[in-house]
């Protein structure tokens, strides 16, 4: 493939090309921290420009690696790091999510005096953590990525350090997050104890033989339980969901936007790396656990969301419910030891995650956008009569809500369709019935938002919608993208399918 004239050094460099985005991001973010010291402007124009440039550079690097590698898989750094189609695609999605989060939250943070360089550098380091998780091929790499991501998010939640609510949320997030990390680590150590390796590919090779032995199997299942708990915590699936509503509500909305979007991609990647890449031979065990998590999440999320009056809290419960739906895909891969349904089911889950991230970005982005100076748009009443105040914003929010509810012709419908089909194909028809009934419950509170926007008159003290052209255009694109994906879901679906096939 390569011309013979390349020097060995150049070849070594080329060998590490798949890790170029991470390298770029790390170097860029370090540079950004230094540059930001010299930025005097309150609006941080230079820092933002640099951040966008870094993201664009990473995207280019990822695309470059993608075109060079195609559907092949590359292992780097002594197999600690893997670059496959799934990691590339998830990374691209994460860049988009982070770029949108930066754009949406800028004015919000500026208005509240929170627009510090830390925000941007923490966000970019969080992104680095996510990317490492997406490309992890060893328990150690995965854990490192996870901790980098989590620590950045803990501090982002506390960004507004004078706010008692935010600090409390950050504290809660940190304590529970540390507990979950501990559990995950404990589970990993069990599996390491049984298999003698931290490398995920190696674990996968060992597990098949080991699980035939009863005593080894006990250890493996024991480790698995702890690992599932850790993954469920990061996804925010019930019964490990306690942190989600408090953190979503307590954090400044712009930070909620960050937490609710891109990290879900990383959590999904973590689930795939651990469960599918590592422990597919134990699918019978973990699928049962995921069934419980899935039903509990859909039920608790959808039913509790009805009682909420705070939109951020409502969307937090909706996240829990959506993660339950996503798990439907993950738990339908292996039927009676038969792997035929695997690619369909996991790609359905991946499609769901990507679509969910788009919806979550849009919904929180809209809340951030509607919050003006000294005014938070976070109670349900704040959306009253939005159609009167601005038909366009109301229309975009309408698309987002119907997409979250899974009503065609929006992308949310195909996301639900594909995971529910995965469950039906796996013979779990009862589970599919439970899922659709709970999604009906969910439809109620999304419809209530539409009702508030369209059927009610604006409240007397309704604030003017800030005039902010750039985020408005991006929000529109975000909402319309969900409509476009609803009319033409094929490209994204086949990308997800190819990504899962290439695992």
């Amino acid at each position: 493939m390569l011309p013979a004239t390349l020097s060995p050094a150049a070849i070594a460099l080329l060998d590490h090309l798949p890790a170029l985005p991470e390298v770029l991001l790390l170097a860029g973010t370090c540079a950004l921290m230094i540059v930001d010291l010299f930025v005097k402007s309150e609006r941080r124009d230079a820092t933002f420009a640099l951040a966008y440039a870094i993201l664009a550079g990473c995207a280019l690097a990822t695309l470059f690696a993608l075109t060079l590698a195609g559907f092949d898989k590359y292992y780097l750094f002594n197999k600690l790091f893997v670059a496959d189609l799934m990691s590339h695609l998830l990374k691209l999605a994460a860049y988009i999510a982070v770029a949108l989060a930066l754009a949406y939250s800028r004015r919000y943070l500026y208005d509240r005096g929170l627009l510090k360089g830390e925000f941007i550098s923490l966000l970019l380091f969080a992104l680095l953590g996510m990317m490492i998780m997406m490309s992890a091929n060893s328990f150690l790499t995965l854990y490192m990525g996870l901790e980098l991501l989590s620590l950045c998010l803990y501090s982002l939640v506390a960004l507004n350090r004078d706010s008692a609510v935010s600090t409390e949320a950050a504290m809660k997030y940190f304590v529970l997050g540390a507990l979950a990390s501990g559990m995950l680590l404990y589970g990993m150590s069990m599996i390491y104890g049984a298999s003698g390796t931290l490398n995920i590919g190696e674990v996968s090779r060992q597990v098949g033989n080991l699980s035939a032995n009863a005593s080894e199997r006990t250890i493996l299942v024991f480790g698995l339980v702890f690992m599932i708990a850790g993954v469920a915590f990061k996804l925010g699936a019930a019964p490990f969901h306690m942190w989600v509503p408090d953190v979503y509500q307590g954090a400044p909305t712009a930070i909620t936007l960050v937490i609710g979007s891109a990290p879900k991609l990383a959590a999904f990647a973590m689930a795939i790396r651990l469960l599918v890449n590592g422990l597919l031979d134990m699918a019978v065990d973990w699928q049962q656990m995921l069934v419980v998590l899935s039903i509990a999440s859909m039920a608790i999320g959808n039913i509790t969301a009805i009682a909420q009056t705070n939109i951020k809290r409502m969307l937090a419960y909706s996240t829990i419910a959506h993660m339950g739906f996503m798990l439907l895909g993950l738990l339908s891969g292996v039927v009676d030891g038969n792997w035929l349904n695997k690619d369909d089911a996991y790609s359905a889950a991946m499609f769901y995650t990507v679509v969910y991230v788009l919806m979550s970005l849009g919904a929180f982005g809209m809340l951030v956008h509607l919050s003006g100076r000294g005014y938070e748009c976070e109670r349900l009443e704040d959306l009253k009569g939005l159609n009167r105040r601005s038909p366009w914003h109301a229309f975009i929010m309408l698309i987002l809500m119907f997409s979250l509810a899974g009503v065609p012709p929006t992308a949310g419908f195909y996301a639900k369709l594909s995971v529910i089909y995965a469950a039906v194909a796996a013979g779990q028809i009862w589970l599919a019935v439970v899922a659709v009934l709970l999604s009906l419950v969910g439809a109620f509170y999304y419809l209530r938002v539409v009702k508030l926007m369209y059927f009610d008159e604006p409240a007397g003290d309704a604030q003017a919608i800030p005039d902010d052209r750039m985020p408005r255009m991006l929000l529109s694109a975000n909402g319309l993208a969900l409509l476009a994906l609803g009319i033409m879901p094929q490209p994204l679906m086949s990308l997800c399918f190819a990504a899962i096939k290439g695992l």
Partner: protein
Amino acid sequence: MTHTVPLLSYAIWVPIVAALLVLAAGGDRNAPVQRWLALAGSITGFVVTIPLYLNFRLDVAGMQFVELAPWIQQFNIHYHLGVDGISLLFLMLNSFITILVVISGWSVIENRVGQYLASFLVLSGLLNGVFSALDAVLFYVFFEATLIPMFIIIGVWGGPNRVYAALKFFLYTLAGSLLMLIALLYLYGKSGGSFAILDWHQLPLPLEAQKWLFFGFLLAFAVKVPMWPVHTWLPDAHTEAPTGGSVVLAAILLKLGAYGLIRFSLPILPDASRDLAWFMIALSLVAVVYIGLVALVQNDMKKLIAYSSISHMGFVTLGFFVFNALGLEGALVQMISHGFVSAAMFLCVGVMYDRMHTRMISDYGGVVNTMPKFAALMMLFAMANSGLPATSGFVGEFMVILGAMKANFWIAFAAATTLIFGAAYTLWLYKRVIFGAVANEHVAGLKDLNGREFLVLGLLAAAVLWMGVYPLPFTEVMHASVNELLRHVALPKI
């Protein structure tokens, strides 16, 4: 058969594009422009369906004007459209009613005019999509998507209790259709990865599975029809919806359920359909008789007509499940006729409501003294609603009763009571509202129909009479497809 002009796509997308143009025309300041745009869009939408009728081949039982393009390869989903003798007329009915709705809201709707008109145009396009989709997912997408504009129509321009009615409408229908989704996915798996409805018609299925699927579909379609006992959303939705909303709801949306039964339940699950025919007939008769009695005691005109709709739709489901050509064709004729008559009845109530702002029967009386033209037209529609010969209402009911007679005398007997109850509640309504002494000074001050109202009701009156006197143009397109359907349903496919 290949047609170079994608007429069905035009029928779907012309109204939707028109809706976008209406929305793009700006806010309420440009309301006149928006009204004319919407009228042009709805008329164009109807005009493109006319060649469908003119070029329709009466001797072909299968699908005509077929369009097929891959859509979502991942699930083998196609953009697959086509009409047969069963669906053709609904497409035309829908496009026709949309014109009337646009005209009838001309001066009544003053708030958010563009959004109102655009909602109806989008709805019209989506409904055409439901009637012509031959791919189950495409069908489902159109079927569900119709909820969004209707939800907005009821909720934004509806009466005082509109929020409750809109939510009830949406959640009720969504509940039914979500279970249908599982049935669709199950069939997709069983058929080896095909969502083509016509393929499913040939798919052999064990009786047990057929019965489960039957109930899956039934829930979705029974809510839409609506069949007793899942009808309770309809009176609320009808009462609270603006006049145009009630018209489309009664004339077209209710037909979706019945259409679903003949497109999915009967041909895909013939054995279960025959096995459970007694159940369906029983539910239909309850609707015909019991709901007819309920209609009798209503105080609210719109509620009364809503219950009368449920009762008439009971006739339709009855006609489907007696399994003979007379019953099935009668049911289809009844569906078309009900489209005209119920639309006209709701428009009549709308005409009065716009003047008096009340729907209570007790607030009226002696309207004939001040609105003679209106009284004459409404007389015709009341007669049609009670099934008088020479109106469209008679043809369908008579055919269904004859069809039922072939199956069982007592079924026909019970169904025939509707001729009494229907006449009773409709004519009693007419008597109380139109005849008698002038009830109060509001009635005394009423103005007769204006040109627009006369045009709308006149068009409907012509349609009702035409269908009553000379139904052949309506029935002849159905023959081939109905016979093919019956032949197919008679074959076991276990």
